[in-house]
């Protein structure tokens, strides 16, 4: 059976010192053999994204990051409409992607809201960072770092419900195990792939608030992750292995990692 997916989008993004406004629409047709995509001329009414909000968030970040090197700044807002085999739905996205450096250390920050307070906290500790150290025997992981590490953790995880996946089907609440039932489609130009979406840690154990805290990612997440650790007055980069956790506490903040994860405060 041939599947037809269409997407319309309007976005505004700040990339470095440039503002980019994009309007586009396209379709993907998968006949089971060949996957074809092309732009489409059909237009639909979509609200103009809030350029002022994007600019304001970008300027705030530039101001906060001033003592350090703002290597990469992407702040965006998009209004999107989708249609797949007759089902139509709409979404609004906000994203921040930052690389802030205090050479030779670089913190990576990805957010799905214009929440600048976290950027401020990371900039403050990054400015005090010393040399690399071994990871403490036990430590806490901040919720945004835990969200990035969640796909690599062997703990009980739940897919949280939402109205539509990349094929317009409902996303059901279920334990993350085996083959994902839903489809992730970040662009009409790419084949959708099965993925667990909106993944949340199942809470267990108790987190010791006195432990050192991993407050920022210093490299893309993986089973071994390079993080910035705050231990009292000491701040240092370290490498942690994330296979297991001793405690997990899920939060309700959604992060744009993998096909979506929720914040997870962890103790490892």
């Amino acid at each position: 059976m041939t599947e037809v997916y269409r997407k319309w989008g309007r976005s505004v993004r700040r990339e470095g010192d440039r503002l980019i406004r994009v309007s586009e629409a396209g379709e993907a047709i998968d006949d089971g053999g060949v996957f074809r995509t092309r732009p489409i001329g059909e237009t639909i009414s979509l609200e103009e994204p809030e350029a002022d909000a994007v600019q304001s968030a970008a300027r705030a970040i530039e101001s906060i990051a001033k003592p350090l090197v703002l290597e990469r700044l992407f702040v965006s807002e998009a209004n999107v409409a989708h249609e797949c085999d007759g089902t139509r739905w709409r979404e609004k996205h906000r994203r921040i992607h930052l690389a802030i450096a205090r050479p030779p250390i670089r913190a990576l920050i990805d957010l799905a809201a214009f929440e600048i307070e976290l950027v401020q906290r990371i900039v403050e500790v990054l400015g005090r960072a010393g040399g690399e150290r071994d990871a403490p025997k036990q430590m806490r992981i901040a919720e945004h770092v835990g969200a990035a590490l969640l796909p690599f953790l062997s703990i009980t995880k739940i897919q949280m419900p939402a109205s539509h996946d990349g094929k317009g089907r409902a996303i059901g609440e279920r334990q993350v195990r085996g083959e994902p039932p839903n489809w992730f489609r970040p662009s009409y130009r790419w084949r959708p792939r099965r993925a667990w979406m909106n993944v949340r840690a199942s809470g267990f154990g108790e987190i010791d608030d006195s432990l050192p805290l991993a407050i920022a990612l210093l490299a893309p997440p993986g089973r071994r992750a390079r993080v910035l650790c705050v231990d009292g007055k000491r701040v240092f980069p370290t490498i942690i292995t994330t296979a297991r956790a001793a405690a997990a506490y899920p939060t309700n903040v959604w992060f744009p990692y993998a096909a979506g994860t929720f914040g997870a405060e962890l103790m490892i």
């Binding site: 406004r21 994009v22 995509t37």
Partner: protein, 290 residues
């Protein structure tokens, strides 16, 4: 400043001679220096040029039935660029319709070896097939893009970037003159277009105890630490990884011979934009690179 940029891009993925994916991408961007406004608009003249070129690319790959082949044609007001990436047994080259026959033959001859990923004990590397261009792309080209200070490179070495906007002496720390972008949605950046490394009166002696490097899987330059990483895909010691500071690479260049040789392909990724960069280098010998 008001700049208009229009593009039409067709890319196709062929797996063992069968079409698996086909994408048309078209649009236009108006740039006033502060803002870029980008939207879908198909320039029919550009589309016709793009499709005609894709016909030529399809003819060039028609006989390849044992590989994964991704063809990309990008037509803009300034140029038509065609690239053909061929992957066999996990090893890739990036070619053009003009060079596909020789590059495909090279890929078949150079297939991967089963040796592990350990760095070989031998410390003399002979960079064949123009593969030193990848090393110099990372250590000199990206360093120049980032404005890092020039180093004390061997007197016999020349490294330049050639583009429609002019030639930059990368060795002297000049940034590439050409601004490039992957699509109409992207911000144009100063990026390398065609890196040409050459040697003038270099000494050259083949060390007895050497590793011959034929193809590279990928490379990276870390601007914060100035560390270069090169993943060697095909060598007589198997695949392995080199990680070295660019200062160490500058010290390691021991000699070179011959004219620049076209290396079959570098797809360079920076700021999320993937661009083809032409790459040429003579046979180069490095010693104790790290």
């Amino acid at each position: 400043m008001n700049g208009r940029y229009a593009m039409v891009r067709r890319d196709e993925l062929w797996v063992r001679g069968v079409l698996a994916e086909s994408r048309l991408n078209a649009g236009e961007a108006i740039d006033n220096g502060r803002e870029i406004v980008a939207f879908n608009r198909i320039d029919s003249a550009l589309r016709d040029r793009c499709e005609a070129e894709m016909d030529r690319v399809r003819a060039a790959i028609a006989s390849i039935r044992d590989a994964r082949v991704r063809c990309v044609v990008r037509a803009t007001d300034d140029e038509i660029e065609s690239t053909i990436a061929i992957t066999m047994r996990g090893v890739s080259v990036v070619s053009t319709p003009e060079t596909i026959d020789s590059d495909y033959a090279l890929l078949k001859v150079c297939g991967p070896t089963s040796v592990g990923r350990l760095k070989p004990a031998r410390t003399h590397f002979v960079w064949r097939n123009g593969s030193a261009a990848v090393l110099l792309h990372e250590a000199i080209g990206h360093a120049a893009e980032h404005g890092h200070e020039p180093l004390d490179w061997p007197k016999w070495l020349r490294v330049r970037d050639e583009s429609r906007d002019g030639t930059a002496d990368l060795l002297a720390g000049e940034a590439p003159l050409g601004t490039r972008r992957e699509s109409f949605r992207d911000v144009p950046l100063r990026r390398m277009t065609r890196l040409v490394a050459a040697q003038h009166d270099a000494s050259f002696e083949l060390p007895d105890d050497r590793v011959e490097i034929h193809l590279i899987a990928g490379g990276a330059y870390e601007p914060l630490t100035e560390i270069v990483t090169i993943n060697v895909a095909v060598s007589d010691a198997g695949p392995f990884t080199i990680r070295a500071a660019r200062r160490a690479i500058a010290r390691s260049l021991a000699g070179a011979t011959g004219a620049p040789i076209r290396y079959p392909g570098v797809i360079c990724s920076r700021e999320g934009q993937e661009l083809y960069v032409g790459s040429h280098a003579p046979v180069i010998v490095t010693t104790d690179i790290a």
